[in-house]
């Protein structure tokens, strides 16, 4: 699964521009599904039959999009002004490389040299409106020939292992979820399952609204990533969760209270099978579950997430052990749910 | 040579703030004379002790000057205004006692109206119990220097608290090493430098004159072992001789660091690595001498540097003595 995750993370697919990721998933895994379709939002929805008939019983969900930026203006001198797509702490963008547009044009996000910054200015970060991307263009015309207005930009980060087996890459949020789902697609399943690879989660769980409405599952399991702040200078519960402590089974976040029974089932399954697990020790964040839960007459939702440091930044960090345990836990849930069916 | 603690007491009794080190130099000259082949002094007042050896020139420099005050002006009713010699912090000296070379003593006070939080040197005065400007003038002169008045005390068996461990403890360490070195494998220069606290000035000229191949500054370094430490220092008391990596005036040479650590290992001497972000040492000027000098530092970890109550571990100081002795007796050119 790590090789697949590496490949997925290296693809660029910012919210609203998920084409490359969607094409890859379809071309590599579509043959394992029984039906495949895309919709107006760009969601990729596949269904796979399993040993037991259970149409619309379980939907797995992970989003294909990543945070990034979009070009809003091109200056006379050929610099690109932009806004972030999704929630990004603008400080992590300073001094970073980006790739823009369909041609993946390289650019750098710079600021005037700090030698030219006054003592007062030094302590404050300029607003995003003052940021600019340098693509080496010498004029507006020059720049426009390379990157159009509205061109999307992705961060750059080599996906690789480092340290004592940790993994760094951009877009682990949520290519991790996509990788887990893709692996399950390749397996024989004990019941029918719907796989929804959603679009535009980062700008407000947009794709999930449409996907949930059309599928209307009874149960939805969201595969996500969640913030681990297990770094020095962060105390106690504010660490939320930690790397190498296993998948995070959520009972609640800032946007949804998960189905209690599903939460307890997941917890029990993990304990009974010796899978390390943890939960979020701080209420924060949100994901596609919030859109799905309140669709039509309601859907029971649960979430299994990989703990990840530095989410929504170019270099996110996670543990392959946690990824593997997550896959195992999800498989166990599918089997459990199938067993409950007549 | 007397014990380290006795050396500290002896040096503490001498007067030697930056630019007025005479008494200190005389005392160290006395203490070093039986162990020196040659001794000289230069226009900056440095004391240069030469122990001859066949080999490259290895220079150790421990500054003998201390921070202090210098009288600039007589105020009404006999109070004195003063300037600082080196890194004196107004909040750290308030209400401390000082003494002059001629035995006059005084207390540092602040102008009543000055706010403690925003205290500046210009807000401070010295009360020498004079009652009138005339009396004050009979007791001290403009340009007279004053130092913290306090004596060394042991805290338990290992720790010593005293004014001016910066840098008397290093001078004591060098004096001990001077005695212990029996077979120099390098041409050794033990420099007791002046005016380090006002900008590494003595070491600059001493180093030029000696033109060493290798230089090692011996000074105190800040620690990382007090509550709420912001980690500007990296050492802890009692963990051994501190091997300098870098301070605000020098990045030590990897070769020097490697050699010092290797020597320490061979002699089972405990060491720890030190980075001192907030201060500099003679190494800062030695490495720039002439065509460049490979320079390192051997330091004694010290808490509360530049306050009247500095604290260090004599165990660390002893490790420094052993380390310096071992370095002297092994050629710097040897692998």
């Amino acid at each position: 699964m790590m090789d697949l995750l590496k490949t997925l993370c290296m693809l660029n697919g910012v919210s609203g521009d998920e084409g490359k990721v969607r094409d890859y998933l379809f071309s590599q895994f579509g043959s394992h599904a029984d039906t495949c379709r895309t919709d107006a939002l760009g969601n990729l929805i596949m269904t796979k039959k399993g040993a037991k008939l259970a149409p619309n019983h379980l939907m797995l969900c992970a989003h294909m999009d990543e945070v990034g930026l979009i070009v809003t203006h091109i200056t006379e001198d050929g610099y690109l002004k932009f806004q972030f797509v999704g929630g990004v702490d603008r400080r992590v963008a300073i001094g970073k490389q980006v790739r823009l547009g369909t041609e993946q044009i390289p650019g750098v996000i710079g600021l005037k040299a700090y030698h030219l910054v006054s003592k007062e200015e030094e302590k404050k970060i300029p607003k995003t409106e003052s940021f600019y991307i340098d693509i080496g263009a010498k004029s507006r015309q020059d720049a426009e020939d390379l990157v159009p207005l509205g061109g999307y930009g992705s961060f750059v980060c080599e996906a690789e292992l480092f340290g004592q087996g940790l993994f760094k890459a951009k877009a682990i949020d949520d290519r991790f979820g996509c990788a887990v789902m893709a692996r399950l697609l390749m397996e024989d399943l004990p019941m029918d399952v719907t796989f929804a690879f959603t679009a535009q989660e980062e700008v407000g769980t947009r794709g999930a609204f449409a996907a949930a409405f059309s599928v209307t599952p009874e149960i939805a399991l969201v595969l996500e990533t969640t913030t681990a702040a297990d770094i020095p200078s962060v105390e106690g519960s504010r660490r939320v969760c930690a790397l190498k402590k296993g998948p995070v089974i959520s009972y609640m976040d800032g946007a949804a209270i998960y189905d209690r029974a599903l939460f307890e089932t997941l917890r029990t399954l993990a304990q009974e099978h010796g899978i390390p697990w943890q939960t979020k020790e701080y209420v924060a964040g949100g994901n596609d579950a919030s859109a799905i839960q309140r669709t039509k007459a309601g859907v029971r939702v649960a979430a299994v997430s990989a703990p990840i440091r530095y989410l929504h930044a170019p270099a996110s960090v996670g543990s392959p052990e946690d990824f593997q345990h997550s896959l195992t836990l999800v498989r166990l849930l599918i089997h459990y749910l199938a067993a409950q069916l007549p | 040579m007397m014990s380290l603690f006795d050396l500290l007491t002896t040096l503490n009794a001498c007067h030697g703030p930056s630019g007025d080190e005479q008494e200190m130099r005389e005392k160290i000259t006395q203490l070093a004379s039986s162990y020196a082949d040659e001794m000289s002094s230069d226009p900056m007042g440095n004391l240069i002790v030469h122990r001859k050896g066949i080999g490259p020139k290895l220079m150790f420099s421990a500054h003998m000057d201390s921070i202090g005050l210098i009288v600039t002006h007589f105020e009404a009713r006999g109070y004195l205004r003063f300037g600082k010699l080196g890194g004196v912090s107004p909040q750290e000296v308030l209400y401390h006692r000082v003494r002059f070379k001629n035995g006059t003593r005084g207390v540092i006070l602040k102008d009543e109206k000055a706010e403690f939080a925003k205290l500046k040197m210009d807000d401070l005065l010295l009360d020498i119990g004079a009652d009138s400007e005339e009396n004050a003038k009979a007791m001290v002169c403009l340009g007279d220097t004053a130092i913290y008045d306090g004596t060394p005390h042991m805290l338990g068996a290992e720790y010593v608290v005293s004014p001016y461990l910066d840098n008397h403890i290093s001078c004591a360490v060098l004096l001990e090493a001077l005695e212990r070195v029996k077979r120099p494998a390098n041409d050794l220069y033990f420099v007791f430098s002046t005016q380090e606290e006002v900008g590494l000035r003595g070491a600059k000229t001493a180093s030029y004159a000696i033109a060493p191949d290798y230089g090692i500054a011996v000074d105190v370094t800040s620690t990382d072992d007090v509550p709420g430490s912001d980690h500007s220092g990296t050492t802890r008391l009692g963990k051994g001789a501190a091997v300098k990596i870098m301070d605000s005036t020098v990045i030590c040479h990897p070769q020097m660091i490697a050699r010092i650590e290797r020597t320490a290992k061979e002699h089972s001497i405990s060491t720890q690595r030190e980075v001192m972000r907030g201060g500099g040492t003679d190494a800062g000027t030695i490495h720039l001498t002439r065509g460049g000098v490979l320079t390192g530092g051997i330091s004694i970890p010290c808490r509360y540097i530049h306050t009247p109550a500095e604290m260090a571990s004599l165990t660390d100081a002893r490790f420094c003595v052993s380390l310096i002795t071992a370095l002297c007796e092994r050629s710097m050119e040897e692998g």
């Binding site: 200056t75 001198d77 929630g87 702490d89 400080r91 992590v92 300073i94 001094g95 970073k96 490389q97 390289p106 750098v108 710079g110 600021l111 005037k112 040299a113 700090y114 030698h115 030219l116 970060i125 600019y132 340098d134 080496g136 010498k138 020059d142 980060c157 480092f162 340290g163 004592q164 940790l166 760094k168 913030t227 702040a229 770094i231 020095p232 200078s233 962060v234 939320v240 964040g285 440091r309 530095y310 270099a315 960090v317 | 990382d224 980690h231 500007s232 990296t234 870098m246 005036t249 990045i251 030590c252 660091i257 690595r273 980075v275 490495h287 720039l288 002439r290 065509g291 460049g292 490979l294």
Partner: protein
């Protein structure tokens, strides 16, 4: 001179101030075809000497510094590394930056950044001081202490990318881009006769205290010296009067730190070979090695010739390839016939 290739070699090598060995080796290898003799100074600077063979010839020193700004590890906490800067690090560039720790073997790290939920409204506007940052190297505390002792240096990862058709972006272009210019200058002069002894100096420690240049010059005792360093390139948020546009040629320094006749000579030569130049007026300290070199021993006549560079001291420093080319042409023209044309004292 294949600048992208040469700079790729120079900028991939590591050399934060005080730890320049790796890049010094690369620099020496690149310099040796153009000089008669290569040595290293006590403080690690690379010195290439080419004598002209004329008796009583004066000595011209060309200097560009090899060191880059970097980091020094100062301890570990829960496996994360604390660090301080070597030279003037721009801390705004650090959150989530990738660094290469120069341990043996080197290891990758990511500068930790705090997630939004534990920050307050105003926090996003604040630059985080280096003292509060940690480097995530994915190790346990035990391993971190073992593999990365206090004093291990680190640098931004190497490599340059091409932006547009002729801009290069990467770390350490300050000042390796100018060292590449010196290489090119030496290459241009190789087939020409010189009437001064030429020394090319790749100096160390410029970013902290110019120690490499100061001590090298002490032994070399040059008569004249041109320091080739970078100056601020134009960006949308810089005051126009303090920066220089890329692609408009090299920048000649004017002021007390630049001997008038040398600045004059640079302007005249630029004119003669049709190279556009810009002027940088510096009222006092030029901020380069020239400031310290000017007062070496009995004094040296110094000049500053600079290359516009954007985002100085960041991992994305950016220069114009055309400017490199023109700076080398100008410098070569300056060197030719210098012995004959320099004014007598």
């Amino acid at each position: 001179m294949d600048y992208p290739s040469v700079l790729s070699k120079l900028c991939t090598a590591s050399g934060p101030s005080g730890f320049e060995q790796a890049v010094a080796g690369t620099a020496a290898t690149l310099l040796s075809p153009y000089v008669d003799e290569i040595t290293t100074s006590r403080l690690g600077s690379v010195i290439g000497i080419r004598k002209c063979g004329k008796p009583g010839a004066k000595t011209l020193l060309l200097d560009a510094h090899l060191d880059e700004i970097g980091f020094l590890m100062t301890g570990a906490e829960e496996g994360f590394l604390r660090f301080t800067s070597l030279g003037g690090v721009d801390s705004r560039m650090l959150p989530n930056a990738e660094l290469l720790v120069l341990s043996d073997p080197p290891i990758t790290g990511v500068v930790s950044c705090l997630p939004p939920h534990i920050q307050r409204q105003g926090d996003f506007d604040k630059a985080i001081p280096i003292k509060e940052l940690y480097l995530d190297v994915g190790l346990t505390q035990e391993e971190a202490e073992r593999r990365v002792p206090i004093g291990t240096p680190a640098a931004y990862p190497g490599g340059c990318i091409l932006l547009g058709s002729d801009r290069l972006s990467g770390k350490a272009l300050d000042d390796r881009s100018c060292f590449a210019v010196l290489l090119h200058t030496a290459q241009l002069l190789k087939q020409k006769e010189l009437d001064v002894d030429l020394i090319v100096l790749g100096s160390t420690r410029e970013e902290v205290n110019s120690a490499g240049a100061i001590t090298a010059a002490w032994d070399l005792i040059p008569d004249f010296c041109v320091v080739v360093d970078v100056t601020h390139g134009d960006t949308p948020d810089s005051p126009a009067e303090k920066v220089f546009p890329l692609g408009k040629g090299p920048v000649v320094g004017v002021g007390p730190n630049c001997a008038q006749w040398m600045s004059q000579r640079l302007f005249e030569k630029a004119n003669a070979i049709h190279i556009p130049v810009q002027t940088e007026v510096m009222a006092g300290n030029s901020g380069t090695n020239a400031w310290a070199l000017q007062i070496s021993r009995e004094g040296i006549a110094t000049a500053n010739l600079s290359l516009p560079l954007r985002y100085m001291h960041s991992p994305i420093e950016t220069i114009c390839l055309g400017d490199l080319e023109q700076t080398a042409q100008l410098l070569a023209a300056f060197c030719e016939n210098l012995g004959k044309e320099a004014p007598a004292l």
